[in-house]
Structure formats: C-alpha cells, structure tokens
Symmetry: C2
Subunit: 382 residues, 2 copies
C-alpha cells in the first residue's frame, strides 16, 4: 500500500488539517489590508504564546535566523559572552558569536546533562564584563531541559548582561514566560509546537535588551530588530512577509489559545511522561535522565544495537520518522519527539513500533510491554 | 488540543493525501478532452479492480444507487427473486425489489452467520422461475463474509437466473473476481476500499445480465445501464460526472494497481486477523466467528457493557469513530473497520483505545494485552 507517514521528529512536526487548509488558500499580497489585519491578530497572539506585553518580532527565516539576529542586534564586536554548550544547538550560539567577532566563553556541559546554574553565577561574578549569556531552553540534540528560570534570576542581577534563550523547541511545550522570568531575548521557530512548516522565526526582546540594541555595532541587514519593530507597529514586516506561513500561523496560534497554554503544557508533560515510561519498561535508558525535556525524549540505544539502525528500520519498514543522534551522540541514541500536534495515539504508535524494531534488531522486548506502561499514564484523565 | 480524528468506521474510510490533493485541484468540465482522458483511464483501472474484461458502469450516487439500478435494469415487474437477509444491507435488496414490484423471497439468516449455499441450491431447484439471487459479499452490519463463489457456482447452472452481488464493502478487500467466479452484477461504492468520499457507485454487468436488461420493463431514468454503457464507450457518463470524485478515483485506482490486488487482499487479511486477535485477547467475542469479513470486525459487547457506550466513549474521549450495532444488534455489538487506507498502526491504536474504553466501563482488561496479541500478528513480514 502507499505508505502512511508518521512524523515524530523534533521538527518539522505534524501540521493540523485546518492549518494546511489555511496555507492552501489563494495567496494575498503582503501589503494588502486583509493581510495587515492578519498580522495585527498574529502580533497579539504571539504575545500570548511568549507570555509577554512586549512585541514579538517575526522573520521569514528558520530558527537560526532569529538566533543570528539575537547576537548581531544586541552585541558589539569584541563583546565577551557565556555560551552553554551541552549539545549541537549550544554550539550554534558559539558559532554565531564567533562569526560576528563576539568572544564566547564556552561552558561545556556533558551531553545529556543540564547546566548547573551555579557555574553561570560563578562566571558572571568572576567577570562582570560578560555582556550576554546564551542557552537553549530545550537542547533538541540531547533532550535536555536547561534551568531557564534559575539562570534568569542570576543574570538579572547584572545590569550589563542580558540573557538570550533559544526557545525554539521549548516555547509552547513547557513554562517559559518571557516577562515573568525576565528573559531578555527569547527565540522561537515555526516548525515545532507552532505546528507549521519551517520558515518563520521569532524573537521577543526586553527593554533591557533594546538598550543593548541601541549600542550594537555589528553589521546586520535582513535580521534588523529596530527596523522590524518599526514596521510591526504598523502591522507590517520590513521585508516581504512569508504570507502563506503567516496565514497558517494565525490558525495555529488560535489553536494554542483555544487549548490554553497551561493545558498545552500539561498535555506535553503527559505525552513525554508516557514516552519515558514506555521506553523504560522496554529496558531502555534515557539519555537525559536528570532533566528530560517534554519536547523530545532521547533514548540510549541498548548495548549491541546501533541507534541509527533503529531510526532506519522505523523509517523504512514502519514509515515512522524519529531522529537519530547527532555528532558525538550519533549511533548511541535515538530521539522521539512529542511537541506540537501530538496526542495519545502518536505515543502508543511509536512505542509499539519501537518494540517491533528492537525485536527485529535482536534486543529482547516482550511485545506490548512498553505500550502497557505508556497507556497506564495516557489513560488517566483522557 | 484541537482533536486529532481517527476514522475506523466501515465507510467513509480515510482518504489518502494524494487523493485529497487530486480532488482539491481546480475543477474541469465534464465534457472537456482532459476529463474524457481521465474517464478512459478510470474505465480500464476499474476493470482491474473488478477483475473483469467487461465494462464497469459508474454513477454519481452512493452505493444504494447502483443497487437500485441492478434491480430496475435487469428485472421485470412481478419477477420472483431470492434475497439473502442476514443484516441491514440484505434487507435493502428486499426493500428495493418491493419498491419496484419485484417479488423477493427472503432467506433470513441469523445475524452474524453466513448463508448456507445449500439453501439457495434448494430454493432454485424448487422454483427455477426465480430470476435473480441477491446477496452481500460482506454484510457490513454484521461483519459477515458470505460464500460468493459457492453461490455463483450454484446460480450459473440456471440460464434463467442471475446472481447479483453487493460488493460495496468487499471489493478490493478480498477475492471477488467478477469474470472468474461468474457473478452477473457486482456493485461497488467509492467510500470503502476505494478510499474516496461517498458519491460514486459502480456496477459490472455480465453478458447474461445484459440479456436480462434487454427484457426489463421496470421504469428507470437516472440509473439506466444501457444509456451509461453507450456513453462509457465514448469515455463519458450519461449525466454530469462527479468530476472531483472521478479525479480522486483515478488516483486511488492507481494506488490500488501499484499495491496490487493480491497484496491488498493480504494486507486486509493481516489487519483483520490482528484486530480479531486483539479483541479476543481482551476476552471479547466476535459477532461473526464463522465467516468474519476482512472489511470490518464486529465484536460482541461484553456482559454488562452497552455497545453504544463503547462507541460513544471512543468518539467523545478518544476522537476515534468506530460503528455501533444497527437494528437488532444495536447496543449488543460494535464494529471496527479496517478497509482501505489502513496500516499496522491504525489497528494498534484502536485496540489500545478499546482497552482503555472497556476499563473505563468497568470491564477488566489488562492494559497492553490486546495490543500485544495484535502486534504479534502485525510485526510479521512488516
């Protein structure tokens, strides 16, 4: 039969039918009054998602675009920064800094572990000239959730330092309130809990960070925060808007508001807990047991099993896309995502498929054992 | 969260993305050369599905339309017929006969059981004036597969009698070769294994049945077989074609040809076997244990459990649509479909959901027990 595809990678994530339908409508012009009205709505809805009263800037680019903008708009050449490097996306912050002459001091955290906030407190105490601290809310490559609130509480004591958070795979999945926690720049992307294709990225910017923007001397053009803010106040984007994606965004943000952020957080927590219980019941170990993210569950491939083969069999025989390990974790882990448009049966399905796949690879799993453990969590308050 | 809907009712069945996309294309005129070309393709592909060299007529109507046409085009007022009544759709054959002055003799079969072909042999021997025998290949209301080949072998001995089969939920699911078995009229519908919305019905007509058409005196207009055949030879339909459905039909028939009928039969057999194993492992009984259809599995609600409540909880809490019992089976059974665009994980999902639902209704099922039994069948040759 023509394959039925199941997408459980940590982005892109499945797109709901109404969002697909909205994006399939005939395109309108990006300066047309009808589109300006959509942008006005989107602007308010993004504030709900980011839990902020400030404007959320939007770029026709994938997440890395807004990450780059967070560096180039707030810092100056030669600025010292602290970068938490506990995975592939932590490394990206360091790479962007270096590309623009910013000088990162890297805090190398063991992959699979969250950063200890005390290390950041100590580094800032040692060198208050540090201008920014960079971290991922959810480090997608390892399945770790970093302690954002704790780090924010530390950084906010320093007038000369801002806290820049990659929330691409964390926003909408777990608590990450921009205003309440005092984050300075929070970056998001469309292809995660926003249930959209890749192609939009976002940045919320605090007053403190805007004061940094005024002093920034790094060159920028496409990702120009001030220019975007000026346009956004007229319900426009500086450059051509990614019209169809924005039409979809308005729908997906409506869905998030209809569910309510608290309910979305609870749902993601439940799906993640069920996934973790399912894999543990099969005798597998989590790669990030200390602080697992509710966005994606990273699982250690058992002894004698190549994690890449797990991914390949799931893809080629079961038509299920999960993610393998990257860089140093390649072959050692596989990652099951559960962020965005996911429900009970996405988890039942992938756990059942994982049982069959591991059996095929010679790892002894009793059929139904993982499903049983996942279902025990999922059936509560269904 | 906005619900993710899962459709496991015996029609309409899920529609594959490429079929949805084909139907979403801008509509073309039903007499345009481009559409004539599509009808030419469809005409040949339908022969593959029906396993016939004869033409397959097509109507813009649901299955009951072609059923009516099978009666009104082949018979005369006052003709005697034999109707196998072992479910709601058997009753429909009798109702159509009566509406047009045809006189059915009803063979009432206990719901959940297949008809004994010997009864038909005996009736025809007793009264060779019987002009037609009506039966369902798959009686959707009870989940029974009737012995079509055996009945065809009996009827073909009578020159004065034709064999009219409702293959609406059987075609494409299990063996039903029109030419090889010598069926005289075989009716199909779009919303079953053809993976389309409701709105198209089909009828293959044998040479023997066409000779009956010549003598028929029952009034008909919309469902006029001769008129349709004449138009079909020019790759047209007599009336306006259901253009978008036909565009989708061409896609779904391509899918069926790409899979191959034999593979489709094996797939349906495997999904059905897994469903039966899953419900039995939960301690449930089949409603049609003697000759279960591979299209739909009818399950007896366990003592003390209302079958309608099973359907309701699955629908309202799990967003899964299965079917309840109809008429005399209402409340006593529920029906899980697995015909059309279904794979391994549709079955895993519905069995897992059924476990949770029965537990909520106070029926003791160990979580994962049904899934385990289903998975044991599904994981073979995946």
């Amino acid at each position: 039969m023509q394959k039925k595809y199941y997408l459980l990678a940590p982005g892109p994530t499945p797109i709901p039918p109404n969002v697909l339908a909205a994006m399939a409508e005939p395109i309108i012009h990006h300066r047309a009054p009808a589109f300006v009205k959509v942008l006005e709505e989107v602007r308010e809805r993004l504030k709900y998602l980011f839990q902020t009263k400030t404007e959320v800037l939007m770029f026709a680019a994938t997440g890395t675009g807004a990450m780059e903008g967070a560096v180039t708009n707030t810092l100056c050449k030669g600025d010292k920064t602290l970068v938490v490097r506990g995975g592939k996306f932590g490394e990206r912050w360091a790479e962007i800094c270096e590309a623009y002459g910013v000088v990162p001091k890297n805090i190398d955290v063991e992959w699979g572990e969250p950063v200890d906030p005390q290390i950041i407190a100590d580094e800032l105490a040692k060198d208050p000239a540090i201008r920014a601290v960079f971290v991922q809310a959810s480090e997608t490559s390892t399945g770790v959730m970093h302690p954002i609130k704790e780090i924010a509480d530390i950084v906010k004591k320093y007038d000369n330092t801002i806290f820049i958070v990659d929330g691409i795979s964390g926003l909408g999945v777990f608590e990450l309130p921009f205003d309440a926690w005092g984050i300075d720049v929070l970056v998001g992307g469309s292809q995660k809990s926003l249930m959209l294709p890749p192609g939009l990225s976002f940045a919320a910017v605090s007053d403190k960070a805007w004061s940094f923007v005024e002093k920034s001397d790094i060159p920028k053009y496409y990702f120009n925060f001030k220019k975007e803010l000026k346009n956004l106040k007229d319900n426009q984007t500086a450059w051509t808007s990614a019209v169809s994606l924005v039409m979809g965004l308005n729908e997906s943000l409506k869905m998030i508001q209809a569910e309510g952020l608290d309910n979305a957080f609870k749902r993601h927590a439940k799906l993640a807990a069920a996934t973790r219980a399912g894999v543990k019941a099969m005798g597998l170990e989590l790669y990030a047991p200390t602080s697992p993210s509710d966005s994606v569950t990273a699982v250690k491939a058992p002894a004698g099993v190549d994690g890449q083969k797990v991914v390949k069999i799931l893809r080629d025989k079961h038509n299920i896309t999960i993610a393998g390990g990257q860089s140093q974790a390649k072959g050692k882990i596989f990652r099951i995502a559960h962020l965005g448009y996911f429900d009970t049966y996405d988890i039942i399905m992938v756990i059942s498929a994982l049982e069959m796949t591991l059996r095929e690879l010679g790892f002894a799993v009793e059929l139904g054992k993982g499903v049983q453990a996942a279902a025990a969590i999922l059936e509560k308050d269904i």
